[in-house]
């Protein structure tokens, strides 16, 4: 068993780091522990626009990153510890075999964690960990969150109460669960750093820690820039959907409707007398599903960024 040291908190770098390790260390069993600054992470095939309210995330300065495994939307912050396990498929064929060492390590730390549903870990009825997997070429990447000391109020605000129901869409829909922090269930308090060290020691079970070489580091950075920071990956991978929203803007009725395939908008309809709706339609038809460009358009049309709430 090997672990690769990663103390970076940048979510885009960390996604690239995980993919790079998965693609590079194909003959080893790996364990990674890592953390992200406040971030929303969506599943590989999720509709970002449905899962999160982008204007809210922008207001909170929380970025959205798309991961390469399946499943739903999660919120990470520095109170959350992520773990990743990599192994050949015959050694880790299902969730049970992946979760077992993690649950055993938690139990060994006197945390009464148990498996719940197909791939969650819970204390009692409250979830402390969700996980997902990716399988390529006979190898499994299993990763999960461990809520240790997270801002559960913000997590709730971001991931559970702001689903956007103006979308008719395919793609994976997130589950909504009651959650709790591990730290509240410790017999003897410890810091996240201490928890991380204890957990690593148990999961690594005598294995060793390595660091990436400068060349490997550059490869991770290249993957970060070319894939995980790209519009193509984050927004362009959004499954096809159609959108419609009606309401009132500046005292007049408004209706916005469009379709999107591979992140490109079509059949755009904008009806509102408070601004030049024809200009909006023309600007959006064939354009990318790009919230920043849409926000700029809203400013150009009306000077009011809140118009974006009708476009996304």
């Amino acid at each position: 068993m090997l672990t690769v040291r990663n103390r970076c908190h940048d979510p885009f770098y960390n996604q690239a780091f995980e993919e790079y390790v998965f693609e590079t260390f194909r003959d080893e069993n790996m364990v990674l522990l890592w953390q992200n600054d406040p971030t929303v992470v969506v599943g590989c095939h999720q509709n970002i626009c449905r899962e999160v309210r982008w204007p809210l995330l922008r207001e909170l300065h929380v970025p959205v990153v798309r991961r390469m495994s399946g499943g739903g939307t999660v919120y990470h912050d520095l109170g959350n510890l992520n773990y990743t396990l990599m192994a050949p498929q015959d050694q880790m064929p299902d969730y049970d075999s992946a979760l077992a060492p993690v649950i055993a390590a938690l139990n060994d730390l006197s945390i009464p964690a148990q498996k719940r549903r197909s791939c969650d870990i819970a204390i009692g009825e409250q979830k402390i960990s969700g996980s997902a997997q990716r399988v390529t070429g006979g190898r499994v990447l299993h990763h999960g969150t461990l809520l240790f000391d997270s801002d559960l109020e913000l997590l709730d605000r971001i991931t559970t109460h702001h689903k956007n129901d103006c979308f008719q869409t395919k793609g994976t829909v997130s589950a909504i669960c009651a959650v709790t922090n591990i730290r509240d269930h410790l017999q003897t308090d410890m810091t996240l750093e201490e928890f991380r060290a204890e957990l690593l020691q148990r999961l690594l079970s005598g294995g060793r820690e390595i660091v990436l070489t400068a060349d490997q580091e550059r490869e991770v950075e290249r993957l970060r820039d070319e894939k995980y920071c790209s519009w193509q990956w984050t927004w362009g991978k959004t499954p096809s959907f159609s959108y419609e929203k009606t309401g009132e803007f500046m005292g007049t009725p408004i209706r916005v409707a469009y379709s999107a395939k591979r992140g490109i908008l079509s059949n755009v309809q904008v009806e509102c007398e408070a601004f030049d709706a024809g200009k909006a339609e023309k600007a959006l038809e064939g354009a990318k599903l790009d919230p920043e460009a849409m926000e700029q358009l809203c400013l150009d049309l009306t000077g009011k960024p809140e118009l974006l709430n009708f476009f996304l």
Partner: protein, 79 residues
């Protein structure tokens, strides 16, 4: 020869999978072992690799659709 590719059964309890992404377009040359599409079931994304080489003649499923195990998803033209 035309060969039908079908939704694989990856785990005993699997009844269907979502074909979430095509990695090869119609007309693309596919080598044995190369991934052709991705499916998602129970939060697992699986890349499905070709078992033999050929040309991807027809995609029978749209991205995002749920496909029962053993149902056809594509036609591969093999030699």
């Amino acid at each position: 020869m035309e060969k039908e590719l079908t939704m694989p059964k990856l785990r005993p309890e699997m009844e269907s999978g979502v074909l979430c992404a095509w990695l090869k377009e119609e007309g693309d040359v596919v080598s044995a072992g190369e991934p052709i599409y991705e499916i998602e079931t129970d939060k697992v994304v699986n890349q499905i690799e070709a078992t033999e080489s050929g040309v991807l003649k027809k995609q029978l499923i749209e991205e995002g659709d749920t496909v029962p195990v053993s149902s056809p998803v594509a036609i591969l033209e093999t030699k």
